[in-house]
């Protein structure tokens, strides 16, 4: 077997050095009754070529985004990742290193984490950021628990504009921790004036936090400066979720609007679609809440010669030291995805990110205007970044998406896929990025016209 260096002679020599007769002697502690004798009825080892062939066959069964006119968003976005990113993250020194617990020989990972934390804090306009969570959804769940700890309260109010699966994660964590979740209805108008008023009406001294998303699940943008003031008036915390990080190249940052915790998905930068994972959870907050923050943090210090260097710090919050009193049970995080994010963001810089954002936004505006002209299609979103919701009057969005998929057009996300209940069957969310060509727009427009006829 190509991964195992020992020859049979090596094994014999080593067993003799240990002083046992056979390998079975080393497994003597396993009770006789449960020792496996005949294998599992599974295949034996395979050559690299055979393995490659199997995965190519599986890959070929799927419709890749690059092989379609692609308009799906809903918390995961297709952006172009420069080749440099993938080359660098595959360098042995980054790819095959462990968590940087020995800082003298881990400065590569540590310095990039420090750069990552700086980038995240800048994008969100927040004071501090951690070294990542698993993804945006688990980060959001942990943000709610952090707010409960910081305020010593147990009630979260969640906007209907938060990604439905993120809400499910919050509900699941809250359910097991006996915490209360107040959920507002999911509509494209979530976080509009009416919803903000409803949220403010529900605020009380039991409320630990309010969770909102921008752009919301349906694509709508909102200003929540006034909401932040109302939340702070009852000494609760405002948690803002951002599932499309590229939006912050064009839209005012949550920190600027008064958020206490900003959490989101970083997948758009450097990571790719990956059928849902691995992704990278971004997590930022204020200095005041630093010690309530979950996850690893990298900090600057000096070595014995006075040279600047970086270490993992504040680890007394974490499970390996604090055990049952830890701020979270998280250990391994998104390591290599944070590196991909950092490198891609360094390549973009301020200029590149802003251009990428405007390219996505302008494309979305252009497409929305074209689709609005089709009979029986209404564009429901008024202010948006790169994603908007349309209503297909008299048609089921899911059926149309399936029909268009057969023509290699991945037309968007039917709202009913994530929200099967409610009056959502004719709603379709469409996302546009810098990867979409005019030809993609033509294909979608023509196909939708045909399907709606």
């Amino acid at each position: 077997m190509r991964y195992l260096p020992h020859s049979p002679q090596d094994r014999e020599t080593m067993l003799a050095a240990i002083g046992v007769n056979s390998i079975d002697d080393l497994f003597a502690e396993i009770p006789q009754s449960v020792r496996i004798k005949d294998g599992f009825g599974l295949p034996n080892h395979a050559t690299e070529l055979e393995v490659d062939r199997y995965f190519r066959k599986q890959s070929d069964k799927n419709l890749a985004a690059s092989g379609a006119a692609f308009f799906i968003g809903g918390g995961a976005y297709r952006h172009h990742v420069p080749a440099t990113v993938d080359h660098l993250i595959q360098r042995s020194e980054f790819l095959t290193a462990y968590t940087p617990y020995q800082p003298e020989i881990s400065q590569g990972t540590l310095q990039t984490l420090f750069e990552f934390q700086t980038q995240v804090a800048q994008l969100y306009d927040m004071e501090i950021a951690n070294a990542s969570m698993y993804d945006g959804s688990t980060g959001t769940g942990e943000a709610v628990l952090m707010a409960h700890r910081a305020t010593k309260r147990k009630k979260a109010i969640v906007s209907g504009g938060v990604h439905p699966q993120y809400i499910e994660v919050i509900e699941n964590l809250s359910d097991f921790g006996s915490k209360q979740v107040v959920k507002l209805p999911a509509t494209p108008q979530a976080l509009g004036k009416a919803e903000i008023e409803k949220i403010i009406a529900q605020l009380d001294t039991e409320t630990s936090c309010v969770v909102v998303q921008t752009p919301n699940f349906f694509g709508e943008l909102s200003d929540f400066t006034a909401l932040a003031d109302a939340v702070h008036a009852v000494k609760a915390l405002l948690i803002v979720v951002v599932t499309e990080i590229v939006s912050l190249g064009a839209v005012k940052a949550p920190g600027t609007m008064g958020a206490d915790i900003v959490v989101g998905e970083g997948q758009s930068i450097g990571v790719g679609l990956n059928f849902g994972g691995p992704y990278v959870g971004l997590f930022a907050t204020t200095k005041k809440l630093l010690r309530q923050m979950p996850g690893r943090v990298c900090g600057q210090t000096v070595d014995a010669d006075g040279k600047r260097g970086f270490v993992l710090t504040m680890s007394t919050r974490e499970q390996h030291i604090r055990r049952e009193k830890a701020t979270s049970n998280i250990c391994t995080n998104a390591g290599l995805c944070t590196l991909a994010f950092t490198i891609h963001m360094a390549l973009l810089g301020e200029v590149g990110l802003r251009k990428m954002a405007m390219s996505s936004h302008n494309g979305a505006v252009a497409l929305a205007e074209r689709l609005a002209k089709i009979n029986n299609i209404d564009v429901l979103t008024t202010s948006f970044f790169n994603e908007f919701t349309i209503r297909l009057n008299g048609h089921n969005a899911n059926d149309i998406v399936n029909a268009l998929a057969a023509q290699n057009i991945l037309a968007g996300l039917p709202v009913s896929r994530l929200l099967p209940h409610g009056d959502n069957d004719n709603l379709l969310i469409i996302a546009v990025t810098e990867t979409n060509t005019d030809e993609d727009f033509d294909l979608l427009e023509t196909a939708l016209k045909g399907a709606m006829a």
Binding site: R291, S315, T316, R317, I321, R322, K325
Partner: protein, 122 residues
Amino acid sequence: MSKHYTEDHEYAFIDGDIATIGVSNHAQDQLGDVVFVELPEVGKICEKGDEIAVVESVKAASEVYTAVAGEVVEVNSVLEDAPQTVNEGAETVGWFIKIKITNPSDVEGLMDEAAYTAFIAE
């Protein structure tokens, strides 16, 4: 002033109706370099045995419990910016809080200085 110690290495130094609470010199030695102290707000009312502060070193974080009930009347704000003060003088400049005692008999059953010295020598 009378000195009293708990088995968890907190002290309560009583002067009139004011108790000064902190961690013992032995405790700071065990913790190593103190990097952070979380203190309560002035005005907080606490029962005997309540968690009143958290002290963190690089390798450990420990809750600090008050040996006496009462109202927090002063906190040592020096510790916020200079937590190393705890290492420099745990039982002097590195005190945590002052409490106005509600029940003077709370100190009964605590160790005096000699008993505590014997306790940590065990």
